[in-house]
């Protein structure tokens, strides 16, 4: 209990929570895992407090898990064993913006939608756009190298982080990178922190690249019966030089869940929907849309709709962003959860990879919903399963491994944008094994030891 008193001394009485009721929400994130009981939740308000907390925990060998929005899909933001949860919720300030230098400086607890609402006043935005952007934070999305819908055009988070303020486990505060687009100063520690899932240090501030908002965009929705044909459509667009702003696909289960929760209706005979946004200047949008439609007409579709109505586009965009959660309505029993697959392949390999995934689902006889950010080759396979049924979960894990292998056989990866967390530790090993690069894992473990010799930060994640 001395530790709790010490923590209270650092952040103040009301920012250390340890009542039974207070701990409940911190045992869950958006994954299906249930975390260990926290000793306490600590909500620091500045970097010095974070530094003192880490120093204290490091000296006392207390595990620490950092928590941003708590929207991790792999259990990255919950404890694997008793320790403290470091909530970054109070790091909610946007500190500086420079339009000329194209950056914004924000604290790590700022939600991505809040950041973009602020930037929109300057007609700019920060492109990484995970579906959870209403809840996801700057720090959390850097820690998972989040991608999202707009990654088809703008890439994932790693393309947009210029510099960081990080607190190391011994309490040292470091600055990495800076406010310039280029620098060549040895190892890129900023890049190292991206996707590190809170295992190396606590990100407290980030300098993020920003870019002007697209002038205008329009939407094309194409319906298919064949999954590979949907994949071919994206490959064809890209082959003809069209990079969509977003390119999403979803299957019938996904469409039904949106209909049930949001009331948006889709053609009854459609098995798959391809949703494409094309951005352009006001003057040339029509031409670009028509070019894309012509290409899409060349695929075996069962209908094409287009719109530039902002309300209509917004409603569907929000529906797509909430798709994972709305799928819970499609459960066949209250014991079922949704286990999320998240793989990526080059878009040229999409038709074949999708077909193989479809066949694998049939082999396993699992209820799986397929959807994803198809524009960058990212496929999500959501599996409906009773996580307390060990036999069923064994089957799910085996399917997840096979899904990962399909990605690897098609030059892709076992994790596209959700990270590894607790969920994909075996899959990470499989990726390195497949690439005959087991040494990668050794290097990662050594880097972890160098940063965090006492292994206090997010213990039990990644490896």
């Amino acid at each position: 209990m001395d530790i709790l008193n010490n923590l209270r001394e650092i952040v103040g009485e009301k920012h250390v929570l340890n009542k039974k009721e207070d701990l409940i929400p911190y045992k869950r994130d958006a994954s299906f895992f249930i975390g260990a009981e926290p000793m306490a939740i600590v909500l620091p308000g500045n970097v010095e407090e974070v530094s003192r907390i880490l120093k204290l925990c490091n000296e006392n060998l207390i595990p620490v898990v950092v928590r941003g929005g708590g929207s991790s899909l792999t259990g990255a933001s919950i404890l694997r064993e008793p320790g403290i949860v470091l909530s970054m919720a109070r790091f909610d300030k946007i500190l500086e913006i420079s339009i000329q230098d194209r950056y914004v400086l924000a604290e790590s607890g700022v939600k991505l939608d809040v950041l973009n609402a602020y930037l929109s006043k300057y007609r700019h935005f920060y492109p990484p756009d995970p579906a959870s952007s209403i809840a996801a934070t700057v720090g959390g999305s850097i820690n998972t190298n989040a991608g999202g819908l707009r990654a088809a055009m703008y890439g994932a988070t790693k393309e947009w982080v210029l510099g960081l303020e990080v607190v190391l486990p011994d309490g040292t505060i470091i600055q990495t990178g800076g406010k310039v687009l280029k620098r060549s100063v040895g190892y890129d520690l900023t890049a190292l922190m991206i996707g590190s899932e809170g295992t190396l240090g606590i990100i407290t501030k980030a300098i993020l690249k920003i870019t002007p908002l697209p002038e205008k965009y329009g939407r094309i929705m194409v319906y298919y019966r064949s999954i590979s044909e949907a994949g071919r459509a994206v490959a064809n667009l890209k082959n003809r030089g069209i990079t969509p702003l977003i390119a999403e696909f979803m299957d019938r289960i996904s469409m039904d869940s949106i209909t049930h929760v949001r009331g948006i209706k889709f053609p009854k005979d459609a098995e798959y929907l391809l949703l494409i946004d094309i951005s352009s200047t006001e003057e040339s949008l029509n031409k670009k849309m028509n070019d894309a439609i012509e290409i899409l007409k060349g695929t075996e579709n069962i209908g094409i709709n287009t719109t530039t109505d902002q309300n209509e586009m917004d409603a569907m965009y929000q529906a797509r962003k909430g798709l994972y959660s709305s799928q819970l309505n499609e459960r066949s029993s209250p014991n079922e959860y949704v286990v999320i697959g998240d793989i990526v392949v080059p878009t040229s390999k999409l038709p074949d990879a999708l077909e193989k995934i479809k066949n694998k689902i049939n082999d396993y006889k699992l209820k799986v919903s397929l959807f994803g950010h198809i524009g960058d080759g990212n496929i999500h396979a959501n599996i409906f399963a009773d996580i307390n049924n060990s036999e069923q979960m064994e089957k799910v894990n085996s399917f997840m491994m096979d899904l990962g292998r399909i990605a690897l056989e098609h030059d892709g990866s076992v994790s596209s944008e959700h990270g590894i967390g607790m969920e994909k530790i075996d899959l990470l090993k499989e990726e390195f094994r497949y690439k005959r690069s087991e040494r990668n894992l050794d290097l990662m473990i050594q880097i972890k030891r160098l940063f965090d010799p006492n292994n206090i930060l997010n213990r039990g994640k990644l490896f």
């Binding site: 911190y26 909500l43 909530s87 209403i134 909430g322 709305s326």
Partner: protein, 412 residues
């Protein structure tokens, strides 16, 4: 369906995606303590259901997390799974007041005091004649089947603000003790009556007169039942007193029937919603045509200016079941409408519903909203709810829409 099953059903759809947490006004106002946010409340309720199913009772302390919910439903509007964390709080409060499921009593004395007063006096603060002063000298049509039903809502504000000010001065424990005493001796509530805010009462009376005048200008005939007019009962539902809510609803139904009312003209969002949508679900033969006074103003002519007017939408008009947009149409007739950054289904509560139980929480949220409205750059802030008005009325630029409409009415 039992309360427990109801709570189980509502929370079982939650996947903990945290979308709701991002829009919950109480979370930020209470230092990001998760059980004071929408997601935390849902997870707490899940645990509560689990414990009760396992042990018959729970020892979880749930009172403050659920009573502090503003019932704004911002959470519901962003939930991709259709979970209504606001509804979760309502059901959890009913579990608390039922006294069956918790190891120890967790009912709030302030809530109980309000409920006892409503049941005994037909008013949360035991007001009666005090609510009718606005109507002195005005003509009503006693034979009309239309009832102008104020519910005492605007009138209540001058008295409730005094009570919440007293609450701010004392510690929460002391307030609970005093409320406990008043619950035992309900007539004591009347001690607070002389302490009302006189200027604010005049302002609220004038708003009511404006509404009267607008309806008269629109050629509507209506009656008003004065000191016999009861409070609409919203607190009973929102604070989880379902049995009392149903009993009270029947009382209202019988009163309306006795007065031969067919059409009830409401003047605030809370009354409009509860009469139109909630009582009919719980009470047999609650068959009245429920309207809002703004429904009748379409044909009136107003003098339009270039003045920028920002509209704070009441939660019960924008985020609850009924989306009521007449105020927006009317604002467009008198000036240039500005919508704040958060509006429509993603609007932000004024903090008012917490005023009597958690005045400091209410202050924090209303101040935040007021700043947002000021940042819109509009010359005037307008709302259409007495609770929103009372909480946002922080400078001379804030108005109830009825005030502006009457002022800009073109009577030619």
């Amino acid at each position: 369906m039992s309360l427990l099953d109801d709570l189980d059903l509502e929370t079982s759809k939650c996947i903990s995606c945290t979308f709701c947490e991002s829009v919950c006004p109480t979370l930020q106002a209470l230092d990001y303590r998760a059980i004071f946010g929408a997601r935390g409340r849902v997870l707490l309720a899940k645990e509560l259901v689990k414990e009760i199913k396992l042990n018959g009772k729970s020892d979880l302390e749930i009172s403050d997390p659920f009573y502090s919910c503003l019932d704004c439903y911002a959470c519901f509007n962003v939930c991709p799974a259709g979970v209504n964390a606001g509804r979760v709080s309502e059901i959890a409060k009913s579990l608390i007041t039922s006294g069956k499921y918790l190891e120890r009593k967790q009912e709030k004395n302030v809530a109980k005091m309000i409920i006892i007063s409503i049941m005994k006096f037909n008013s949360p603060l035991g007001l009666k004649n005090e609510t009718t002063s606005w109507a002195y000298g005005l003509d009503f049509d006693e034979n009309s089947e239309n009832l102008l039903y104020t519910g005492g809502m605007y009138q209540l504000m001058a008295y409730s603000s005094v009570l919440s000010n007293l609450e701010r001065k004392f510690k929460a424990d002391t307030v609970e003790k005093i409320a406990g005493l008043i619950s035992k001796y309900p007539n004591l509530i009347k001690i607070t009556h002389p302490m009302y805010n006189e200027n604010f009462k005049k302002r609220m009376d004038n708003i009511l007169k404006s509404i009267y005048s607008l309806l008269k200008s629109a050629g509507i005939k209506f009656k008003y039942i004065g000191e016999n007019e009861p409070y609409p009962g919203s607190f009973l539902f929102e604070l989880g007193y379902l049995d009392e809510f149903i009993e009270y609803g029947k009382r209202l139904r019988d009163l309306f029937n006795k007065n031969k009312i067919r059409n009830i003209i409401t003047i605030d969002p809370h009354t409009y919603e509860i009469l139109k949508l909630i009582y009919p679900k719980y009470i047999e033969n609650f068959n009245f045509n429920v309207t809002h006074y703004m429904d009748y103003l379409e044909k009136l002519n107003f003098n339009k200016t270039n003045e920028k007017i920002v509209y704070h939408e009441p939660c019960h008009f924008s985020m609850h079941q009924e989306k009521y947009n007449e105020p927006l149409k009317l604002i467009a007739k008198i000036g240039e409408t500005i919508l704040p950054e958060r509006h429509g289904s993603t609007s932000y509560c004024c903090g008012g519903p917490a005023e009597l139980l958690y005045p400091n929480l209410s202050d924090s949220i209303s101040l935040r909203r007021f700043k947002e409205l000021k940042e819109s750059g509009a010359e005037k802030i307008v709302t259409a709810c007495p609770i929103c008005f009372a909480n946002l009325h922080k400078d001379e630029t804030v108005f109830d829409l009825a005030e502006l409409l009457e002022k800009r009415l073109n009577k030619k």
